[in-house]
Amino acid sequence: MIPLIVFFACALLAVASAVTLILAREPIHSALSLINVMVALAILYLLLGAEFISAVQIIVYAGAIMVLFVFVIMLLNAGVEERTDYSKLAKYAGLPLGFFLLIEIARWMYGSSAGSTIANGAGAITGAVSTRDLSSELFRQYLFNFEATSLLILIAILGALVLARKNQ
């Protein structure tokens, strides 16, 4: 019973926050709502027994990336978003199709996986993926990918430095 309640609470929170992300005119509010989504997802991960992932989700996503966003917003003092409307395409094609995609994907995902159930929250926590297994998987089978991503992020850091440097 409890898992269902938790799930629906989180799902509701996530969707509502996503909608507010769209509707909010104040960038900070969008950021906050996105953080909400992330936290909700983290809880869902817990429910799915992926403790480590949920922790990482919060630490990296909510705790680092989003802080970066907030930081930038504060730094640039990005004011209220102006709702210009130069792009007819976005107005008449993009948005409707976006919504269409939303419904279509949701419907398809439901159809593709309807009925298949998984262990509930409590069971999931006990039968949780142990960090040890995860790390062994990551550092054995996916070692190369891991290294590649580390290289990628290093490059990203350098790129950010180069971009943000005072150009003289």
Binding site: I2, E26, I28, H29, L32, I35, A42, E51, F52, A55, V56, I58, I59, A62, G63, A64, V67, L68, V70, F71, I73, M74, L75, N77, A128, S130, T131
Partner: protein, 405 residues
């Protein structure tokens, strides 16, 4: 009733949380008193003295003052966020404490672990997760009050916290490698838990192999809690009061409490990771340590009695005698053989934490504030590389040892 039996874990947790909350709140209040006293003595002053004996009631007075002050919100501020920020800060810092084990998990009452609210496998990660969220309180406060100094404070704090969180985490990883687990209890019981003692009395605390990591952690932790010498977000002399300039009354109190709660959390973490948590530093074989808590309390009571008898007059004497009675009573209870084992964990844990808290206050009383660029360069150019090096060396050594053992 069926519900309770069905969800005993839930109920027990709720009760424990309530109790813990009460204790922590009190602790916070008296931590302010403690700090003021210590700083005062460092600066050779008396500190709070008039409200109650030794100013013991000062925190109460402060709390009342905060409550009764006018709570004003700047009109230009972003109301929602403005209100949200302090709540976020406090709630997060309190939540963090819920993860801390104050005693051995195998001590149970009604089948529920007594001193452990939540004993999850990746406790440490969760702690970090929560503390990492702590930035928002400050940052949002700075932004939402929509005025210059707070904004600057918020910017500074977000940058600073992000920067130092990295080295904080990395400096801890060394310990994790040694312990091979993210669970607090297994970390605590790691080397010392298997009865490891050097020379039969020096406990095998992680601090000895991880001394560099410990120093890094200590520094980063001070920065993480925005305290002197890293208190740039709220530097009175530069930014009036930094991010909480516009805050008043209880919201301000919340930030205040949040900061102290963070202090406690960080100290707990240090204790757990580096100083064997709730384990007694002495070997099991030294039986007399069972009676140390009680003895200590009784000693305190006796001192209070002496003090009350000699120096205090009137109301203060009454208060002190109350304290005396409490101390003596609790001490006596702690001396009871069936109670004594239960008290060990919390006693040692608190003792160790107190040391750290004292250290914090001491630092505050001693050191001047950094300049901002110094802060950043220190964090990125010194602290991070050192902690990284520590991590690498630790890993290498562990690999080497496991290969050749």
């Amino acid at each position: 009733m069926g519900f309770i039996s069905e969800h005993s874990v839930l109920v027990a947790s709720l009760i424990k949380v309530a109790v813990l909350l009460f204790i922590v709140m009190t602790a916070l209040a008296y931590l302010t008193w403690f700090e003021r006293k210590v700083v005062a003595h460092i600066q050779s002053r008396w500190g709070p003295y008039y409200v109650g004996a030794h100013g013991l009631l000062q925190p109460l007075a402060d709390g009342l003052k905060f409550l009764f002050k006018e709570d004003l919100t700047p009109p230009a501020s972003d109301k929602l966020v403005y209100v949200l920020a302090p709540f976020l800060a406090l709630s997060l810092s309190l939540t963090a404490i819920a993860l801390i084990p104050f005693g051995p998990p195998n001590l149970r009452l009604f089948g529920q672990p007594l001193f452990v609210v939540s004993n999850i496998d990746i406790g440490l990660l969760f702690l970090f997760a929560i503390t990492s969220m702590g930035v928002y309180g400050v940052a949002l406060a700075g932004w939402s009050s929509n005025s210059k100094y707070p904004l600057l404070g918020g910017l500074r704090s977000s940058a600073q916290m992000i920067s130092y969180e990295v080295s904080l985490t990395i400096s801890v990883v060394g310990v994790l490698l040694l312990a091979g687990s993210l669970n607090f209890n297994s970390i605590i019981e790691g080397p010392q838990g298997q009865g490891g003692y050097w020379l039969h009395f020096v406990p095998k605390w992680n601090v000895f192999p991880q001394i560099i990591g410990f120093l890094c952690y200590l520094t980063a932790a001070v920065a993480e809690t925005n305290r002197i010498p890293f208190d740039l977000p709220e530097a009175e002399t530069e930014l009036v009061a930094g991010f909480h300039t516009e805050y008043s009354s209880f919201k301000f109190a919340m930030f205040f409490m949040a900061e102290y709660a963070n202090m406690i959390t960080v100290s707990c973490l240090a204790t757990i990771l580096f100083f064997g948590g709730w384990l007694s530093p002495f070997p099991e074989t030294w039986r007399w340590q069972l009676y140390l808590p009680g003895a200590g309390l009784i000693a305190l009571g006796i001192y209070c009695a002496y003090d009350a008898a000699t120096r205090m007059r009137g109301l203060a004497r009454l208060q002190l005698s109350v304290v005396t009675v409490l101390a003596l009573g609790i001490g006596a209870v702690c001396l009871l053989p069936m109670v004594a084992p239960y008290v060990q964990g919390p006693f040692w844990f608190t003792a160790k934490i107190l040391v750290f808290l004292f250290f914090y206050v001491w630092v505050r009383g001693t050191l001047p504030r950094f300049r901002y660029d110094q802060l950043m360069s220190f964090g990125w150019k010194l602290l991070l590389p050192v902690s990284l090096a520590n991590l690498v060396v630790t890993a290498a050594v562990i690999v080497f040892v496991t290969r050749h053992a």
